[in-house]
Amino acid sequence: MGSGLSMNRQTAFWALLAPPLLFVGIFFVVPLLNLFWVSLHGASSTELFGSNLSGENYYRILTDSFYHTIILRTLWAGMSIMLLCLVLGYATAYVIAPLPPRTRLIMLLLLVAPLMVSNVIRAYGWIAILGRQGVVNSMLRSTGLIDGPLLLLNSFEAVAFGLMTILLPYMVVSIVNALNSIDRQYIEAAQSLKANPVRSFIYVVWPLSSPGVASGTLLVFLLTLSAYVTITLLGGPRMKLLVSLVFDSVSGFRWPLAAALSFALLTLALVVAGLILALLRPGRVQGRG
């Protein structure tokens, strides 16, 4: 059969799909499987990992109370950041969403553009504001309110607050999108059924915006888990979360432990994602039960 046959379609499909599929397969899926394989081994002083299969890394994470403390602190940090983002983000989205389209876009751009700036720069900004010689301390000192500098950094609170400001735009954008996709007729229908504004919010707006809330909280939590640089810069050497342990293990060349900690982090991500979806059930307004 010559050229110009309709089986070309199938060939074209695979010619298009194969390169990206191979790329993602080789550089995303395979490394991940390999990481899991590494996590199932003991340490070795000469190789990447020891020769025997063992669950010792996972056993250690599950039984050592040091890891428990860190995991709980990670969860606590994630939850606090998530909640802070939710309150601020929902309020902001609620104000932005009804604005005229052009104004809304510009307001959103002011929040989205900072997302493009590297987190290290945004964390540096908070160091400049909250550090020993930072804006806050120098202003307080010049007004004579304090003598010595306040220590505002290197704490759990500093990390939670800083990360919250870094991730907040994700929450706002998700919720604005959800709020804007709500048909105004639903709210009018609720009002026609004698619901006051508070009730129509509780029974109509909030449930219908749940897909946005779900994707926003999910994104914020997942990005918290990875935010090593922000945590290190704002939290200082002693404020460690799970991600810090991964780095510490890598610095100590304990590859299998680092791998196992990565999977602990992934598990945490999956569990919390599952909880968020179960709690908010965004599917019910997206037509998937």
Partner: protein, 261 residues
């Protein structure tokens, strides 16, 4: 109630924008150390930035990596989108999910897995390793934005092209590409910006002498304290992003920029 909402909104904008503003303003300071408001205006820290080999090297390396990675992501992502945009079924959802996954996947896990993978296969040059990592991370942006552009194209246009004697290649060049290039450009720009600021995989994959600008800034902050040359480095990145956003606004419109994040 209304007042409280507006106050919270104002607070949101302040905490998101203020840190960046402070850094940019400080970069023009004339003083040796951080002070706010800055004492005097000068470009000395920008001069210092370009005078430093390591900073300048990291900056140009970041640009190179971002350029190559975003082009690679755009090409691969566009191919993938064209192949699967209109396909339905569990298998195609899975494939699509695989392309989108790096978007929400904890990036440090990706970084570590790539580092160990590179070591397992006998080592990969740092530069190439970073390009690959940033392509994987940029791919979802391209797939998402090209797919939505493709779905907006009436499928009958492709058949109309064929009915007018256009070969599949002609159909792509004359019909599909002109209609989806804003999506490709938006995806590519985001992949570029992401690569420029990326930390989580770069932390693992940069090596001695081969760092990116964000990692360079990070190690300065960690080990050398508050030299204002990092404010200049940061300001340069912020200005670049502003320039890119302005150009993108011209080319593809505000809506796409906001939606792509």
């Amino acid at each position: 109630m209304r007042g409280l909402l507006i106050a919270l909104t104002g607070f949101s904008y302040v905490v998101v924008l203020l840190p960046i503003l402070i850094v940019v303003v400080t970069a023009f300071s004339a003083s040796e150390f951080f002070a706010f408001p800055p004492k005097g205006f000068s470009l000395r820290w920008f001069e210092a930035f370009f005078a430093s080999d390591s900073m300048r090297g990291a900056f140009s390396r970041s640009l190179q990596i971002a350029t190559i990675a975003s082009i690679l992501a755009t090409v691969l992502g566009t191919m993938a989108s064209i192949a699967i945009a209109r396909r339905k079924g569990t298998l195609f959802n899975l494939v699509q999910g695989m392309f989108i996954a790096p978007l929400i996947f904890p990036a440090i896990v990706l970084g570590l897995s790539l580092l160990i993978f590179y070591k397992s296969i006998g080592g990969v040059p740092d530069f190439l390793g970073l390009v690959i990592a940033h392509s994987v991370l940029g791919l979802p942006f391209v797939v998402r934005s090209v797919t939505s552009s493709l779905l907006a194209v009436d499928p009958a246009l492709e058949e109309a092209g064929q009915s007018l004697k256009a070969s599949p290649v002609d159909v792509f060049i004359f019909i599909i590409a002109p209609l989806i290039w804003p999506g490709m450009l938006a995806g590519g720009i985001f992949a570029f910006i992401l690569s420029l600021g990326e930390l989580n995989t770069a932390l693992f994959l940069t090596g001695p002498g081969v760092t990116t600008l964000p990692i360079e800034i990070f190690s300065y902050l960690q080990f050398q304290g508050g030299q204002l040359v990092i404010a200049a480095a940061s300001a340069i990145q912020v200005f670049m992003i502003i320039a890119i956003v302005l150009i993108a606004e011209r080319l593809i419109g505000l809506k796409r920029i906001v939606r792509s994040e």
